[in-house]
Protein backbone atom coordinates (compact mmCIF):
# COMPACT_ATOMS: atom_id res chain seq x y z
CA UNK A 1 0.00 0.00 0.00
CA UNK A 2 2.79 2.31 0.91
CA UNK A 3 4.68 1.84 -2.32
CA UNK A 4 1.48 2.42 -4.25
CA UNK A 5 1.07 5.74 -2.50
CA UNK A 6 4.56 6.84 -3.29
CA UNK A 7 4.02 6.13 -6.92
CA UNK A 8 0.97 8.37 -7.04
CA UNK A 9 3.04 11.37 -6.04
CA UNK A 10 4.68 12.96 -8.99
CA UNK A 11 8.30 14.11 -8.90
CA UNK A 12 7.28 17.72 -9.58
CA UNK A 13 5.74 17.80 -6.11
CA UNK A 14 9.14 17.35 -4.50
CA UNK A 15 9.67 21.08 -4.52
CA UNK A 16 6.71 21.47 -2.13
CA UNK A 17 8.51 19.21 0.30
CA UNK A 18 11.34 21.70 0.39
CA UNK A 19 8.99 24.66 0.40
CA UNK A 20 7.04 23.42 3.39
CA UNK A 21 10.08 22.93 5.57
CA UNK A 22 11.42 26.43 4.92
CA UNK A 23 9.83 28.08 8.00
CA UNK A 24 11.15 25.35 10.25
CA UNK A 25 14.62 25.45 8.79
CA UNK A 26 14.86 29.24 8.77
CA UNK A 27 13.74 29.69 12.35
CA UNK A 28 15.86 26.80 13.43
CA UNK A 29 18.97 28.26 11.85
CA UNK A 30 18.43 31.74 13.27
CA UNK A 31 17.09 31.04 16.73
CA UNK A 32 18.54 27.67 17.60
CA UNK A 33 21.50 26.79 15.44
CA UNK A 34 23.21 30.17 15.44
CA UNK A 35 22.96 30.55 19.24
CA UNK A 36 24.33 27.03 19.61
CA UNK A 37 27.36 27.91 17.51
CA UNK A 38 27.69 31.20 19.37
CA UNK A 39 27.68 29.31 22.66
CA UNK A 40 30.26 26.88 21.38
CA UNK A 41 32.52 29.74 20.35
CA UNK A 42 32.07 31.58 23.66
CA UNK A 43 33.41 28.51 25.41
CA UNK A 44 36.78 29.25 23.86
CA UNK A 45 36.87 32.95 24.71
CA UNK A 46 37.48 35.30 27.63
CA UNK A 47 33.90 36.60 27.57
CA UNK A 48 32.89 37.40 31.13
CA UNK A 49 31.76 40.27 33.28
CA UNK A 50 28.46 42.00 33.83
CA UNK A 51 26.55 42.50 30.56
CA UNK A 52 29.71 42.17 28.54
CA UNK A 53 29.32 41.27 24.88
CA UNK A 54 32.90 41.74 23.76
CA UNK A 55 35.27 38.84 23.65
CA UNK A 56 38.55 37.54 22.32
CA UNK A 57 39.54 33.99 21.59
CA UNK A 58 41.72 32.60 24.33
CA UNK A 59 45.42 32.73 23.64
CA UNK A 60 47.65 29.89 24.73
CA UNK A 61 45.47 27.15 26.18
CA UNK A 62 42.27 27.30 24.17
CA UNK A 63 40.64 24.65 26.36
CA UNK A 64 41.19 26.61 29.59
CA UNK A 65 37.45 27.04 30.24
CA UNK A 66 36.77 23.38 29.66
CA UNK A 67 39.59 22.41 31.97
CA UNK A 68 38.39 24.70 34.71
CA UNK A 69 34.83 23.35 34.38
CA UNK A 70 35.97 19.73 34.39
CA UNK A 71 37.91 20.38 37.58
CA UNK A 72 35.02 22.27 39.10
CA UNK A 73 33.70 20.15 41.98
CA UNK A 74 30.34 21.89 41.96
CA UNK A 75 29.90 21.03 38.29
CA UNK A 76 30.76 17.40 38.93
CA UNK A 77 28.27 17.32 41.79
CA UNK A 78 25.67 19.06 39.62
CA UNK A 79 26.02 16.50 36.82
CA UNK A 80 25.78 13.65 39.31
CA UNK A 81 22.73 15.22 40.97
CA UNK A 82 21.04 15.73 37.64
CA UNK A 83 21.42 12.10 36.67
CA UNK A 84 20.48 10.77 40.11
CA UNK A 85 17.38 12.95 40.36
CA UNK A 86 16.33 12.08 36.82
CA UNK A 87 16.61 8.36 37.47
CA UNK A 88 14.82 8.69 40.81
CA UNK A 89 11.99 10.41 39.01
CA UNK A 90 11.92 8.54 35.71
CA UNK A 91 11.82 4.93 36.83
CA UNK A 92 8.73 5.31 38.99
CA UNK A 93 7.25 7.66 36.42
CA UNK A 94 7.53 5.33 33.42
CA UNK A 95 6.49 2.34 35.52
CA UNK A 96 3.37 4.06 36.74
CA UNK A 97 2.59 5.49 33.31
CA UNK A 98 2.91 2.01 31.79
CA UNK A 99 0.66 0.50 34.43
CA UNK A 100 -1.98 3.19 33.87
CA UNK A 101 -1.65 2.78 30.12
CA UNK A 102 -2.17 -0.97 30.47
CA UNK A 103 -5.25 -0.38 32.62
CA UNK A 104 -6.76 2.35 30.49
CA UNK A 105 -6.25 0.50 27.22
CA UNK A 106 -7.16 -2.93 28.57
CA UNK A 107 -9.78 -4.42 26.33
CA UNK A 108 -11.31 -6.98 28.64
CA UNK A 109 -11.41 -5.24 31.99
CA UNK A 110 -12.29 -1.65 31.21
CA UNK A 111 -11.90 1.04 33.83
CA UNK A 112 -15.05 3.07 34.37
CA UNK A 113 -14.59 6.82 34.67
CA UNK A 114 -11.18 6.68 33.06
CA UNK A 115 -11.79 10.01 31.35
CA UNK A 116 -11.93 11.88 34.63
CA UNK A 117 -8.87 9.99 35.92
CA UNK A 118 -6.88 10.96 32.82
CA UNK A 119 -7.87 14.59 33.20
CA UNK A 120 -6.89 14.62 36.87
CA UNK A 121 -3.60 12.80 36.36
CA UNK A 122 -2.47 15.26 33.72
CA UNK A 123 -3.41 18.25 35.87
CA UNK A 124 -0.17 18.68 37.83
CA UNK A 125 1.54 19.24 34.48
CA UNK A 126 -0.40 22.37 33.64
CA UNK A 127 0.79 24.30 36.67
CA UNK A 128 3.71 26.69 36.42
CA UNK A 129 6.77 25.10 37.98
CA UNK A 130 7.30 28.29 39.94
CA UNK A 131 3.92 27.80 41.59
CA UNK A 132 4.65 24.16 42.32
CA UNK A 133 8.04 24.95 43.86
CA UNK A 134 6.63 27.61 46.15
CA UNK A 135 3.75 25.33 47.06
CA UNK A 136 6.01 22.42 47.99
CA UNK A 137 8.37 24.73 49.84
CA UNK A 138 5.43 25.85 51.91
CA UNK A 139 4.22 22.26 52.36
CA UNK A 140 7.55 21.07 53.75
CA UNK A 141 8.31 24.12 55.89
CA UNK A 142 10.26 23.67 59.07
CA UNK A 143 9.60 23.78 61.99
CA UNK A 144 5.96 24.51 61.21
CA UNK A 145 4.37 23.49 57.94
CA UNK A 146 1.62 21.26 56.56
CA UNK A 147 3.70 18.10 56.28
CA UNK A 148 5.34 18.55 59.65
CA UNK A 149 1.96 19.46 61.07
CA UNK A 150 0.58 16.21 59.71
CA UNK A 151 3.50 14.08 60.91
CA UNK A 152 3.62 15.49 64.43
CA UNK A 153 0.33 16.94 65.62
CA UNK A 154 -2.21 15.19 63.40
CA UNK A 155 -0.78 11.70 63.00
CA UNK A 156 1.81 11.65 65.78
CA UNK A 157 4.35 9.69 63.75
CA UNK A 158 7.22 11.99 64.68
CA UNK A 159 8.16 13.46 68.04
CA UNK A 160 9.54 16.72 66.72
CA UNK A 161 9.44 18.42 63.36
CA UNK A 162 11.77 17.11 60.67
CA UNK A 163 13.89 19.64 58.83
CA UNK A 164 13.35 18.63 55.21
CA UNK A 165 15.41 21.58 54.00
CA UNK A 166 18.65 20.57 55.69
CA UNK A 167 18.68 16.92 54.68
CA UNK A 168 20.37 16.30 51.37
CA UNK A 169 18.58 13.01 50.78
CA UNK A 170 15.17 14.39 51.66
CA UNK A 171 15.70 17.38 49.37
CA UNK A 172 16.70 15.17 46.45
CA UNK A 173 13.74 12.88 47.02
CA UNK A 174 11.34 15.80 47.19
CA UNK A 175 12.67 17.33 43.97
CA UNK A 176 12.48 13.94 42.25
CA UNK A 177 8.98 13.45 43.61
CA UNK A 178 7.86 16.83 42.30
CA UNK A 179 9.23 15.94 38.87
CA UNK A 180 7.51 12.57 39.00
CA UNK A 181 4.26 14.11 40.19
CA UNK A 182 4.31 16.73 37.43
CA UNK A 183 5.14 14.45 34.54
CA UNK A 184 3.58 11.01 35.04
CA UNK A 185 0.27 12.16 33.55
CA UNK A 186 1.96 13.52 30.45
CA UNK A 187 3.91 10.33 29.91
CA UNK A 188 0.75 8.32 30.38
CA UNK A 189 -1.07 10.29 27.68
CA UNK A 190 1.76 9.89 25.18
CA UNK A 191 1.90 6.17 25.84
CA UNK A 192 -1.87 5.78 25.49
CA UNK A 193 -1.66 7.59 22.14
CA UNK A 194 0.97 5.10 21.07
CA UNK A 195 -1.12 2.09 22.12
CA UNK A 196 -4.21 3.39 20.33
CA UNK A 197 -2.18 3.48 17.13
CA UNK A 198 -1.36 -0.20 17.23
CA UNK A 199 -3.22 -2.17 14.61
CA UNK A 200 -6.26 -3.82 16.27
CA UNK A 201 -5.80 -6.88 14.05
CA UNK A 202 -2.74 -7.85 16.03
CA UNK A 203 -4.76 -7.86 19.23
CA UNK A 204 -7.52 -9.87 17.66
CA UNK A 205 -5.01 -12.43 16.52
CA UNK A 206 -3.62 -12.63 20.05
CA UNK A 207 -7.11 -13.03 21.46
CA UNK A 208 -7.76 -15.90 19.12
CA UNK A 209 -4.52 -17.44 20.34
CA UNK A 210 -5.87 -17.19 23.87
CA UNK A 211 -3.18 -14.88 25.21
CA UNK A 212 -4.01 -13.27 28.57
CA UNK A 213 -3.87 -9.55 29.37
CA UNK A 214 -0.39 -9.61 30.85
CA UNK A 215 1.01 -11.57 27.91
CA UNK A 216 -0.62 -9.24 25.41
CA UNK A 217 0.83 -6.20 27.17
CA UNK A 218 4.39 -7.48 27.28
CA UNK A 219 4.45 -9.39 24.01
CA UNK A 220 2.45 -7.09 21.78
CA UNK A 221 1.89 -3.66 23.29
CA UNK A 222 5.43 -2.92 24.43
CA UNK A 223 7.25 -4.13 21.27
CA UNK A 224 4.82 -2.18 19.11
CA UNK A 225 5.33 0.95 21.19
CA UNK A 226 8.98 1.10 20.21
CA UNK A 227 9.04 4.49 18.55
CA UNK A 228 6.79 6.15 21.05
CA UNK A 229 8.71 4.70 23.98
CA UNK A 230 11.94 5.90 22.49
CA UNK A 231 10.40 9.33 22.03
CA UNK A 232 9.28 9.37 25.66
CA UNK A 233 12.64 8.18 26.91
CA UNK A 234 14.62 10.70 24.87
CA UNK A 235 12.42 13.70 25.60
CA UNK A 236 12.29 12.82 29.28
CA UNK A 237 16.04 12.35 29.36
CA UNK A 238 16.60 15.72 27.76
CA UNK A 239 14.02 17.38 29.95
CA UNK A 240 15.49 15.66 33.00
CA UNK A 241 19.07 16.58 32.24
CA UNK A 242 17.96 20.17 31.71
CA UNK A 243 15.97 20.28 34.93
CA UNK A 244 15.97 23.88 36.06
CA UNK A 245 12.78 25.41 37.43
CA UNK A 246 12.02 23.13 40.34
CA UNK A 247 15.56 22.78 41.77
CA UNK A 248 16.18 26.49 41.28
CA UNK A 249 12.98 27.64 42.90
CA UNK A 250 12.52 24.95 45.55
CA UNK A 251 15.78 25.33 47.48
CA UNK A 252 17.98 27.21 45.00
CA UNK A 253 20.13 24.12 44.49
CA UNK A 254 20.75 23.58 48.18
CA UNK A 255 21.29 22.34 50.79
CA UNK A 256 24.99 21.84 50.26
CA UNK A 257 24.53 21.65 46.46
CA UNK A 258 22.41 18.51 46.82
CA UNK A 259 19.71 19.66 44.40
CA UNK A 260 21.96 21.76 42.21
CA UNK A 261 21.46 20.51 38.67
CA UNK A 262 23.68 21.22 35.70
CA UNK A 263 21.27 23.85 34.44
CA UNK A 264 21.16 25.62 37.77
CA UNK A 265 24.95 25.57 37.78
CA UNK A 266 25.11 27.00 34.26
CA UNK A 267 22.60 29.69 35.13
CA UNK A 268 24.54 30.66 38.24
CA UNK A 269 27.79 30.86 36.31
CA UNK A 270 26.37 32.85 33.44
CA UNK A 271 23.74 35.08 34.92
CA UNK A 272 24.77 35.89 38.48
CA UNK A 273 27.83 36.51 40.61
CA UNK A 274 30.74 37.24 38.31
CA UNK A 275 28.94 36.56 35.01
CA UNK A 276 31.36 33.95 33.70
CA UNK A 277 29.77 33.51 30.27
CA UNK A 278 32.78 31.66 28.92
CA UNK A 279 32.88 29.06 31.67
CA UNK A 280 29.10 28.60 31.50
CA UNK A 281 29.33 28.04 27.73
CA UNK A 282 31.93 25.38 28.23
CA UNK A 283 29.70 23.73 30.84
CA UNK A 284 26.76 23.87 28.41
CA UNK A 285 28.71 22.14 25.69
CA UNK A 286 29.87 19.48 28.13
CA UNK A 287 26.25 18.89 29.12
CA UNK A 288 25.34 18.61 25.47
CA UNK A 289 27.96 15.93 25.00
CA UNK A 290 26.62 14.05 28.05
CA UNK A 291 23.09 14.22 26.67
CA UNK A 292 24.15 13.17 23.19
CA UNK A 293 25.98 10.14 24.59
CA UNK A 294 23.04 9.16 26.80
CA UNK A 295 20.62 9.50 23.89
CA UNK A 296 22.87 7.48 21.64
CA UNK A 297 22.96 4.74 24.25
CA UNK A 298 19.17 4.80 24.50
CA UNK A 299 18.76 4.62 20.73
CA UNK A 300 21.16 1.72 20.63
CA UNK A 301 19.58 -0.22 23.49
CA UNK A 302 16.04 0.30 22.27
CA UNK A 303 16.82 -0.70 18.74
CA UNK A 304 18.56 -3.90 19.71
CA UNK A 305 16.09 -5.11 22.26
CA UNK A 306 13.21 -4.29 20.05
CA UNK A 307 14.53 -5.97 17.00
CA UNK A 308 15.20 -9.03 19.09
CA UNK A 309 11.73 -8.95 20.63
CA UNK A 310 10.07 -8.45 17.30
CA UNK A 311 12.02 -11.29 15.76
CA UNK A 312 11.03 -13.50 18.66
CA UNK A 313 7.41 -12.50 18.31
CA UNK A 314 7.40 -13.17 14.61
CA UNK A 315 8.98 -16.54 15.23
CA UNK A 316 6.31 -17.37 17.78
CA UNK A 317 3.59 -16.21 15.45
CA UNK A 318 4.96 -18.38 12.71
CA UNK A 319 5.19 -21.28 15.10
CA UNK A 320 1.66 -20.75 16.28
CA UNK A 321 0.42 -20.46 12.75
CA UNK A 322 2.25 -23.60 11.81
CA UNK A 323 0.78 -25.39 14.80
CA UNK A 324 -2.68 -24.16 13.98
CA UNK A 325 -2.26 -25.33 10.43
CA UNK A 326 -0.91 -28.61 11.70
CA UNK A 327 -3.74 -29.20 14.13
CA UNK A 328 -6.25 -28.27 11.49
CA UNK A 329 -4.80 -30.61 8.99
CA UNK A 330 -4.60 -33.30 11.64
CA UNK A 331 -8.22 -32.86 12.40
Amino acid sequence: MKSAQSRIKSISNAKYGYLFIIPFVLVYLIFHFYPTIYTTVLGFTDCKGLNNTEWNLLKGNIFANYQSILQNKSFQTAVKNTIVIWIMNFIPQITLAMLLTAWFTARRITVKGQGIFKVIFYMPNIITAATIAILFHALFSYPTGPVNDLLTKRLGILEGSYNFFISKTASKIIVAFIQFWTWYGYTMIILISGVLGINPDIYEAADIDGANGVQIFFRITIPNLKTVLLFTLVTSLIGGLNMFDIPKLYLNGGPDNSTKTASVFIYEQAFSGKYLYNRASAASMLMFIVIAICSAILFYLMRDKDAAALAKLKKQERKAAAQRAKSQSWR
Partner: protein, 290 residues
Amino acid sequence: MAKTNYDEPKSAKGPLFYGYKVFQYVFLIFLAVMSLLPFVIMIINATRSRSQIESHAISLIPGTNLATNWKVFTGKSFNVTTGFINSFIVSTGATICSVYFSTMTAFAIVAYDWKFKKAFFAFIMAVLMIPPQVTSIGMYQFMYSIGMTNKLFALIVPAVAAPSTVFFMRQYMSGALPMEILQSARIDGAGEFRIFNQIALPMMKPAMATQAIFAFVSSWNNLFLPLILLTDKKKFTMPIMVSQLNGDIYKTEYGAVYLGLTLTVLPLFVIYFLLSKYIIAGVALGGVKE
Protein backbone atom coordinates in the same frame (compact mmCIF):
# COMPACT_ATOMS: atom_id res chain seq x y z
CA MET B 1 -10.47 3.37 17.73
CA ALA B 2 -8.41 0.39 18.63
CA LYS B 3 -10.45 -0.39 21.68
CA THR B 4 -13.23 -2.78 20.85
CA ASN B 5 -15.79 -3.80 23.37
CA TYR B 6 -15.48 -7.44 24.02
CA ASP B 7 -17.64 -9.14 26.51
CA GLU B 8 -15.62 -9.72 29.59
CA PRO B 9 -14.79 -13.41 29.81
CA LYS B 10 -17.02 -15.06 32.35
CA SER B 11 -14.20 -16.97 33.92
CA ALA B 12 -12.60 -13.68 35.08
CA LYS B 13 -15.49 -12.73 37.30
CA GLY B 14 -14.47 -14.66 40.37
CA PRO B 15 -13.54 -13.13 43.75
CA LEU B 16 -10.07 -12.59 42.36
CA PHE B 17 -11.54 -10.40 39.68
CA TYR B 18 -13.42 -8.25 42.17
CA GLY B 19 -10.38 -8.04 44.41
CA TYR B 20 -8.38 -6.84 41.44
CA LYS B 21 -11.05 -4.30 40.57
CA VAL B 22 -11.16 -2.94 44.12
CA PHE B 23 -7.40 -2.66 44.21
CA GLN B 24 -7.41 -0.90 40.86
CA TYR B 25 -9.94 1.73 41.89
CA VAL B 26 -8.39 2.29 45.31
CA PHE B 27 -5.07 2.89 43.63
CA LEU B 28 -6.54 5.21 41.01
CA ILE B 29 -8.37 7.21 43.63
CA PHE B 30 -5.20 7.43 45.69
CA LEU B 31 -3.38 8.85 42.65
CA ALA B 32 -6.20 11.27 41.98
CA VAL B 33 -6.07 12.53 45.57
CA MET B 34 -2.29 12.85 45.36
CA SER B 35 -2.61 14.87 42.17
CA LEU B 36 -5.31 17.13 43.55
CA LEU B 37 -4.37 17.58 47.19
CA PRO B 38 -1.79 20.34 46.77
CA PHE B 39 -4.32 22.36 44.77
CA VAL B 40 -6.95 21.88 47.41
CA ILE B 41 -4.56 23.02 50.13
CA MET B 42 -3.58 25.99 48.01
CA ILE B 43 -7.14 27.08 47.31
CA ILE B 44 -8.30 26.60 50.87
CA ASN B 45 -5.33 28.42 52.33
CA ALA B 46 -6.10 31.33 50.04
CA THR B 47 -9.17 31.87 52.18
CA ARG B 48 -7.50 31.55 55.56
CA SER B 49 -5.82 34.11 57.73
CA ARG B 50 -2.15 34.25 58.43
CA SER B 51 -2.42 33.11 62.03
CA GLN B 52 -4.63 30.18 61.04
CA ILE B 53 -2.06 29.06 58.48
CA GLU B 54 0.77 29.50 60.95
CA SER B 55 -0.82 27.31 63.60
CA HIS B 56 -2.30 24.67 61.25
CA ALA B 57 -1.01 24.81 57.73
CA ILE B 58 -3.26 22.00 56.49
CA SER B 59 -6.98 22.27 56.75
CA LEU B 60 -9.91 21.18 54.68
CA ILE B 61 -12.19 23.85 56.09
CA PRO B 62 -12.12 27.15 54.21
CA GLY B 63 -11.52 30.29 56.24
CA THR B 64 -13.21 33.63 56.00
CA ASN B 65 -10.22 35.74 55.12
CA LEU B 66 -10.50 35.83 51.36
CA ALA B 67 -11.37 39.54 51.23
CA THR B 68 -8.50 40.52 53.51
CA ASN B 69 -6.07 38.37 51.56
CA TRP B 70 -7.27 39.95 48.35
CA LYS B 71 -6.61 43.39 49.78
CA VAL B 72 -3.08 42.45 50.87
CA PHE B 73 -2.43 40.76 47.57
CA THR B 74 -3.50 43.66 45.38
CA GLY B 75 -1.41 45.93 47.59
CA LYS B 76 1.70 44.05 46.47
CA SER B 77 3.55 45.17 43.40
CA PHE B 78 2.31 42.05 41.67
CA ASN B 79 0.11 42.65 38.71
CA VAL B 80 -1.82 39.51 37.82
CA THR B 81 -3.53 41.06 34.82
CA THR B 82 -0.27 42.09 33.17
CA GLY B 83 1.35 38.75 33.86
CA PHE B 84 -1.65 36.87 32.60
CA ILE B 85 -1.95 38.88 29.39
CA ASN B 86 1.76 38.61 28.65
CA SER B 87 1.75 34.89 29.29
CA PHE B 88 -1.35 34.54 27.17
CA ILE B 89 0.22 36.42 24.25
CA VAL B 90 3.40 34.39 24.42
CA SER B 91 1.71 31.03 24.95
CA THR B 92 -1.00 31.33 22.31
CA GLY B 93 1.44 32.84 19.84
CA ALA B 94 3.97 30.10 20.46
CA THR B 95 1.29 27.41 20.37
CA ILE B 96 -0.09 28.53 17.01
CA CYS B 97 3.40 28.85 15.54
CA SER B 98 4.57 25.53 16.84
CA VAL B 99 1.46 23.51 15.95
CA TYR B 100 0.86 25.06 12.52
CA PHE B 101 4.43 24.99 11.29
CA SER B 102 5.19 21.62 12.81
CA THR B 103 2.20 20.14 11.03
CA MET B 104 3.43 21.77 7.86
CA THR B 105 6.90 20.33 8.32
CA ALA B 106 5.47 16.91 9.10
CA PHE B 107 3.27 17.20 6.01
CA ALA B 108 6.34 17.88 3.91
CA ILE B 109 7.87 14.68 5.21
CA VAL B 110 4.81 12.47 4.83
CA ALA B 111 3.13 13.76 1.68
CA TYR B 112 6.03 14.42 -0.64
CA ASP B 113 8.97 12.51 -1.95
CA TRP B 114 12.16 14.46 -1.90
CA LYS B 115 15.76 13.55 -1.89
CA PHE B 116 16.81 14.54 1.62
CA LYS B 117 13.61 13.52 3.33
CA LYS B 118 15.11 10.69 5.36
CA ALA B 119 18.14 12.75 6.28
CA PHE B 120 15.93 15.63 7.32
CA PHE B 121 13.87 13.43 9.60
CA ALA B 122 17.01 12.01 11.17
CA PHE B 123 18.19 15.58 11.61
CA ILE B 124 15.00 16.45 13.48
CA MET B 125 15.48 13.47 15.76
CA ALA B 126 19.01 14.68 16.44
CA VAL B 127 17.87 18.25 17.02
CA LEU B 128 15.52 16.89 19.66
CA MET B 129 18.61 16.19 21.68
CA ILE B 130 20.01 19.69 21.79
CA PRO B 131 18.98 21.02 25.16
CA PRO B 132 17.66 24.59 25.29
CA GLN B 133 20.09 25.51 28.04
CA VAL B 134 23.00 24.82 25.73
CA THR B 135 21.85 27.54 23.43
CA SER B 136 20.71 29.91 26.15
CA ILE B 137 23.94 31.83 26.59
CA GLY B 138 24.40 32.29 22.87
CA MET B 139 20.71 33.08 22.59
CA TYR B 140 20.97 35.73 25.27
CA GLN B 141 24.04 37.37 23.78
CA PHE B 142 22.49 37.21 20.30
CA MET B 143 19.13 38.64 21.38
CA TYR B 144 20.90 41.27 23.44
CA SER B 145 23.06 42.37 20.52
CA ILE B 146 20.13 42.68 18.09
CA GLY B 147 18.00 44.44 20.69
CA MET B 148 15.42 41.70 21.02
CA THR B 149 15.39 41.61 24.80
CA ASN B 150 12.11 42.69 26.34
CA LYS B 151 10.19 41.73 23.22
CA LEU B 152 7.53 39.08 23.68
CA PHE B 153 8.04 38.42 19.97
CA ALA B 154 11.42 36.90 20.80
CA LEU B 155 9.68 34.23 22.87
CA ILE B 156 7.13 33.38 20.20
CA VAL B 157 9.00 33.04 16.91
CA PRO B 158 11.52 30.38 18.02
CA ALA B 159 8.51 28.08 18.59
CA VAL B 160 8.20 27.68 14.81
CA ALA B 161 10.98 25.12 15.02
CA ALA B 162 9.64 22.58 17.52
CA PRO B 163 11.24 19.23 16.71
CA SER B 164 9.27 17.17 19.20
CA THR B 165 5.97 18.44 17.81
CA VAL B 166 7.12 17.65 14.28
CA PHE B 167 7.98 14.17 15.43
CA PHE B 168 4.59 13.68 17.05
CA MET B 169 2.66 15.07 14.07
CA ARG B 170 4.61 12.94 11.64
CA GLN B 171 3.83 9.84 13.67
CA TYR B 172 0.15 10.65 13.66
CA MET B 173 0.02 11.71 10.03
CA SER B 174 1.68 8.62 8.65
CA GLY B 175 -1.22 6.65 10.12
CA ALA B 176 -4.12 9.00 9.50
CA LEU B 177 -3.55 10.87 6.25
CA PRO B 178 -5.01 9.09 3.23
CA MET B 179 -2.96 10.01 0.17
CA GLU B 180 -5.83 9.17 -2.15
CA ILE B 181 -7.83 12.15 -0.94
CA LEU B 182 -4.89 14.47 -1.53
CA GLN B 183 -4.49 13.03 -4.98
CA SER B 184 -8.11 13.50 -5.92
CA ALA B 185 -7.94 17.08 -4.67
CA ARG B 186 -4.97 17.60 -6.93
CA ILE B 187 -6.90 16.23 -9.86
CA ASP B 188 -9.62 18.76 -9.02
CA GLY B 189 -6.95 21.39 -9.47
CA ALA B 190 -6.34 22.42 -5.88
CA GLY B 191 -2.95 24.00 -5.13
CA GLU B 192 -0.62 22.34 -2.67
CA PHE B 193 -1.07 25.06 -0.05
CA ARG B 194 -4.82 24.76 -0.30
CA ILE B 195 -4.56 21.01 0.01
CA PHE B 196 -2.53 21.43 3.16
CA ASN B 197 -4.66 24.13 4.72
CA GLN B 198 -8.10 22.91 3.75
CA ILE B 199 -7.76 19.17 3.56
CA ALA B 200 -4.80 17.97 5.58
CA LEU B 201 -5.10 20.38 8.53
CA PRO B 202 -8.71 19.57 9.43
CA MET B 203 -7.88 15.87 9.39
CA MET B 204 -5.07 16.45 11.86
CA LYS B 205 -7.32 18.17 14.38
CA PRO B 206 -7.21 15.61 17.23
CA ALA B 207 -3.42 15.41 17.15
CA MET B 208 -3.11 19.18 16.79
CA ALA B 209 -5.35 19.71 19.81
CA THR B 210 -3.27 17.36 21.92
CA GLN B 211 -0.07 19.04 20.82
CA ALA B 212 -1.70 22.43 21.38
CA ILE B 213 -2.29 21.51 25.02
CA PHE B 214 1.30 20.38 25.44
CA ALA B 215 2.75 23.37 23.61
CA PHE B 216 0.57 25.83 25.45
CA VAL B 217 1.38 24.34 28.83
CA SER B 218 5.12 24.19 28.24
CA SER B 219 5.22 27.72 26.89
CA TRP B 220 3.04 29.04 29.69
CA ASN B 221 5.31 27.42 32.24
CA ASN B 222 8.61 28.35 30.64
CA LEU B 223 10.78 30.21 33.11
CA PHE B 224 14.35 29.96 31.88
CA LEU B 225 14.21 32.01 28.68
CA PRO B 226 11.81 34.71 29.87
CA LEU B 227 13.92 35.06 32.98
CA ILE B 228 16.99 35.97 30.96
CA LEU B 229 15.30 37.83 28.10
CA LEU B 230 12.77 39.98 29.94
CA THR B 231 13.80 42.74 32.31
CA ASP B 232 10.98 45.21 31.85
CA LYS B 233 8.38 44.56 34.49
CA LYS B 234 5.56 45.29 32.08
CA LYS B 235 6.68 42.35 29.96
CA PHE B 236 6.99 39.82 32.76
CA THR B 237 5.20 36.54 32.23
CA MET B 238 3.33 34.71 34.93
CA PRO B 239 6.14 32.33 35.99
CA ILE B 240 8.54 35.22 36.57
CA MET B 241 5.93 36.99 38.63
CA VAL B 242 5.19 33.89 40.65
CA SER B 243 8.87 33.27 41.27
CA GLN B 244 8.98 36.75 42.75
CA LEU B 245 5.76 36.42 44.67
CA ASN B 246 7.58 36.48 47.95
CA GLY B 247 8.47 39.98 46.78
CA ASP B 248 8.94 41.39 50.21
CA ILE B 249 10.49 38.91 52.55
CA TYR B 250 10.15 41.26 55.48
CA LYS B 251 6.42 40.88 55.54
CA THR B 252 4.87 37.48 55.28
CA GLU B 253 1.25 37.19 54.31
CA TYR B 254 0.83 33.52 53.56
CA GLY B 255 -2.84 33.80 52.79
CA ALA B 256 -2.09 36.36 50.11
CA VAL B 257 0.72 34.26 48.66
CA TYR B 258 -1.61 31.25 48.37
CA LEU B 259 -4.21 33.49 46.79
CA GLY B 260 -1.65 34.68 44.24
CA LEU B 261 -0.70 31.09 43.42
CA THR B 262 -4.36 30.18 43.00
CA LEU B 263 -4.93 33.06 40.61
CA THR B 264 -2.01 31.97 38.45
CA VAL B 265 -3.53 28.53 38.13
CA LEU B 266 -7.19 29.32 37.52
CA PRO B 267 -6.97 30.66 33.93
CA LEU B 268 -5.05 27.58 32.91
CA PHE B 269 -7.67 25.33 34.46
CA VAL B 270 -10.31 26.94 32.26
CA ILE B 271 -8.32 26.48 29.05
CA TYR B 272 -7.41 22.96 30.07
CA PHE B 273 -10.98 21.89 30.66
CA LEU B 274 -12.00 23.39 27.33
CA LEU B 275 -9.53 21.14 25.54
CA SER B 276 -9.64 18.20 27.93
CA LYS B 277 -11.92 16.09 25.74
CA TYR B 278 -8.89 15.43 23.57
CA ILE B 279 -7.04 14.15 26.60
CA ILE B 280 -9.95 11.86 27.41
CA ALA B 281 -10.47 10.56 23.89
CA GLY B 282 -6.81 10.02 23.24
CA VAL B 283 -5.01 10.33 19.93
CA ALA B 284 -3.82 7.32 18.05
CA LEU B 285 -0.21 7.51 16.99
CA GLY B 286 1.26 5.32 14.29
CA GLY B 287 3.55 3.46 16.62
CA VAL B 288 5.07 0.86 14.30
CA LYS B 289 5.25 2.86 11.13
CA GLU B 290 8.73 3.16 9.78
